[in-house]
Amino acid sequence: MNLQPDDFWTFSEWLFRPGAFLESAFLQGVVLIVLAIVLGLLVGYVISAARYGPGEGFYAVARAIRDLLRTDLPGTSPSRIVALARLAFKEAIRRRVLFVVGLFVVILLLAGWFLNPESDDPARLYISFVLTATNYLVLALALFISAFSLPQDIENRTIYTIVTKPVRATEIVLGRMLGFVAVGTVMLIPMGLASYIFVDRGLDHTHYGVVEANEIDGRIVGKTDRVRKHQHTFTIEAGETQGLTNFVRGHRHVVTRHDDGSFTIGPPTGQLRARIPSYGEIQFYDRNGDPKDSGIDVGAERLAGGYGSAGISRLIGVAKGNRKLEHSYVEGGTLGMAEFTFDDVTRQRFPDKIPFDLSIRAYRSFKGDIESGIRGSLTFKNPDTGFSLTPKQFTVEEYQIDERELPLTFEWLNKETGEVETRNVFDHVVTEDGRMQILLKCLDSSQYLGVTKSGLYLRPAESSFAWNLTKAYGSIWLQMTMIIAFGVMFSTFLSGPVAMVATAVCVLLGFSAESIYDTRHFIDSNIERGGGPIESLVRLVKQDAMTTQLDVEGVANTLIKSADAVIVYTMDAVATALPNLPRMVSTAEYAASGIDIFNAVLARHTVATFGYCLLAFLISYFFLKAREIAA
């Protein structure tokens, strides 16, 4: 999992962006609400002026606002909202939407055939599959139930018997939204349970026996049999009856030796994880040992993406360029290195040992010894005194999390006395205020190790996988809530199918936001990368490459470019205003990678969701209020 800069923000950093307020979510929210109000007033005035004339139109708009503040908001009754929500709930249930849960179970059953438990990282495969399936199924369902209900009520005129009761527009909108959210919640719970069982059972396997066991000085070293294309080695210490296998594909087993010399091997453990990481600050040094912002770039991955975190400052052109965090590489056999500085390394957080994980990539400039892998070293260092431990050598295991630990004591040769002493890490390697550095180097010359800020972290604690899966489902729930709010909003003034398409367009724009930002960036900075929609079409027809100059002369060229600029800028503005759904979908990646979903990330999504719901609620209210129900 490759975390982006904004993933590390705390909730308040995200909300206020100290030092860069233009990028803050708070500002974006305020601007959105102000814009919605101004646009709403303008559109409202134009509509009522067309209906009643310019003077009377003004009063109509003023009356609508007065009604909202004086009667409709204070008069909104929770019990009526609940009654309407119950109705929406019953409506959905009696339309048999719960069949979708059945469909989900069928999908899981079919997936059981196709998901390969023999793959390298079966846990990731299974978890990301169930989460993705749930996500898109629930979003599609939210789209359908929310967009069609209100238009259908208006078409069937059942709404007549509602609006002729003392029911306010606020209650109709909120009742719908809450009812459908309740439906979605009722569906997510069994889907979550089914997912958990599916993942848990799908990853389960048994090794039936031991193919090789040698006793050396009472210590038993052996190998299990080969199941699902992997086998483990294990050791049972002298005098013990139980031992552990090594980690293969993210799991290990407990091996028990019986008195008669036979072995039994337990179920797999440790494959469903929720590591709670503690990240440090990263500093790169080039081959001469000079500090640099980043290491060596070995690809073009970081040329695109990551604009979204700049918020409004990107839209108005203050923040330029992408902010994507990609792997930066450290050259082997030189002074180049990556230096991680960790805070808050205390005895309370690490009472027994300091566990840390490596997630590092390797880049080979020549084939080298393909069998042994690329070697690196880790040096633990006290940033104040410069005291460091003997570098620990390791071989890079790519595309998986390499779990290691630092014991709290180390042996130290006292040069004055010539004796070997046992010293404590906290006394020597960690500073008084709890800082510690880890230096990452590559040992093979002309080979490279790639790392980002999230590539090396301490792991003070662990959460449960079940809870992490619940959090991932919470994120799906938030997306569903957002889509229901949008669906209900569009359905207050559009017919069912049109409302659904409008909501779907919003979702798709949200999903392609980063590509739109990219396109705008390329247009702004005159980089040939295919251009806007019209230019792309021309290139497609003419079969021109993306990176060549557009092969159109004169006025036509100017026309195409200007029209594209207008389109792209408009799409940019719209996409900036829309919720960043891909970010919410990507929480599934945390769960799949076995990392506890950051609470700050979940809190941000929650606040953003309710912000958008509030916006959708206000817009819905005015549209419903201004609408002639019987027309």
Partner: protein, 355 residues
């Protein structure tokens, strides 16, 4: 009231037999008693581009007073439903105003005192009768106990206790109509708007609906109904407005509008042939013109209702009769029904001679 007596039918109240008290109350209506008031009310339907499609209502000025049954009458497309929708705030007037209980029609608050039975019962098909009424009760913020009691009362009133747990999709048209009526009455409203209240009902249902409307009026409620069933309007309405092509053509008291000024009607029973001849002579002597003197025929409605009542009283028996006038047995149960008695005086005329 005047079952067997000889009535000289030139009083103003021939068609409103419900007693003198409401009549007095209605005739003393003043400005403060106005429940619905439309001022210069116009509605033009426009298409999406704002082009005029239909001028549905042209400068309507009517007042509906407290405690009366007001009928909106007119052919299809005359603006009846438009008027009701404007009164409910389902449509916004193009010009003019509607005041309901002195409030603007678009205000939600007025709905607390209003009951509305739409043209067809637009109800949620997936709910059953009890759930439907409970749901509408919740919309009035009624407490659980209040709701339960009210639902019970209304189900009894409209006669749906037996079908309370069936989904509305299984209901017949008449049953849906009854649920529709029950939901309109859930809040014990002061003003009841009925859009075509008798469509889809069988004759018994129509009669019950009419009785109910009159009973509600007697409880002091104001009723506005629109219909093109002229008979219904004549039977129950105190005042009517007749609309045609969006314009108000006639407005006034039903009895005034329908009274034929220079014709006198006499109903009598037990007259001998000589007596009839004597009356003919008297009329001739006064130089008046005798238009007709006949045995009146009962209406199909009366005949049907009598048959059904008979059948309920003596199930299985097939009614065989030569003429309606020779069937005194059919008359007696009818006379025992107080509702029928109160609703229409003509119900008791079957079998009596007319001179």
């Amino acid at each position: 009231m005047d079952t067997d007596s000889t009535a000289v039918a030139d009083s103003a109240d021939e068609n409103t037999p419900a007693g003198a008290a409401p009549v007095a109350a209605r005739s003393s209506a003043t400005g403060s008693d106005v429940v619905i008031e439309t001022r210069n009310l116009s509605k033009i339907y426009k298409d999406f581009w704002g082009r005029k499609k239909v001028h549905a209502l042209k400068s309507l000025d009517i007042e509906v007073r407290k405690g009366e049954i007001f009928g909106l009458l007119g052919p299809n497309g005359s603006g009846k439903s438009t008027t009701i929708k404007l009164i409910l705030g389902l449509l916004f007037p193009t010009s003019g105003r509607v005041l309901v209980f002195d409030k603007d029609a678009t205000e939600t608050k007025k709905n607390e005192q209003i009951g509305y039975l739409p043209e067809e019962s637009y109800l949620y098909q997936f709910l059953n009768a009890e759930e439907t009424l409970d749901f509408y009760g919740r919309l009035f913020d009624m407490s659980g106990r209040q709701r339960k009691q009210r639902v019970e009362e209304l189900l009894t009133l409209v006669g749906l206790q037996g079908a309370r747990h069936r989904q509305l999709r299984e209901y017949s048209k008449g049953m849906r109509r009854r649920v529709g009526l029950a939901q309109a009455l859930i809040n014990d409203p002061d003003l009841i708007l009925l859009d075509e209240p008798t469509t889809g009902l069988d004759p018994i249902g129509i009669r019950e609906m009419k009785d109910l409307i009159l009973a509600l009026r007697d409880q002091g409620k104001t009723i506005l109904l629109c219909s093109h069933q002229l008979g219904d309007v004549q039977d129950v309405c105190d005042r009517v407005a007749i609309l045609h092509q969006g314009e108000l053509k006639e407005l006034g008291r039903v009895t005034d509008l329908l009274k034929v000024q220079d014709v006198t009607e006499v109903h009598a029973s037990g007259l001998s042939e000589e007596a009839k001849n004597e009356i003919r002579e008297v009329i001739a002597r006064h130089g008046a013109d005798l238009k007709s003197m006949d045995n009146p025929t009962a209406t199909m409605e009366d005949l049907f209702l009598n048959i059904v009542r008979e059948s309920e009283a003596r199930p299985g028996a097939r009614r065989v009769s030569a003429t309606a006038s020779e069937e005194p047995a059919a008359d007696e149960p009818a006379a025992d029904e107080p509702a029928a008695d109160a609703s229409a005086a003509d119900g008791s005329q079957a079998g009596s001679d007319k001179s």
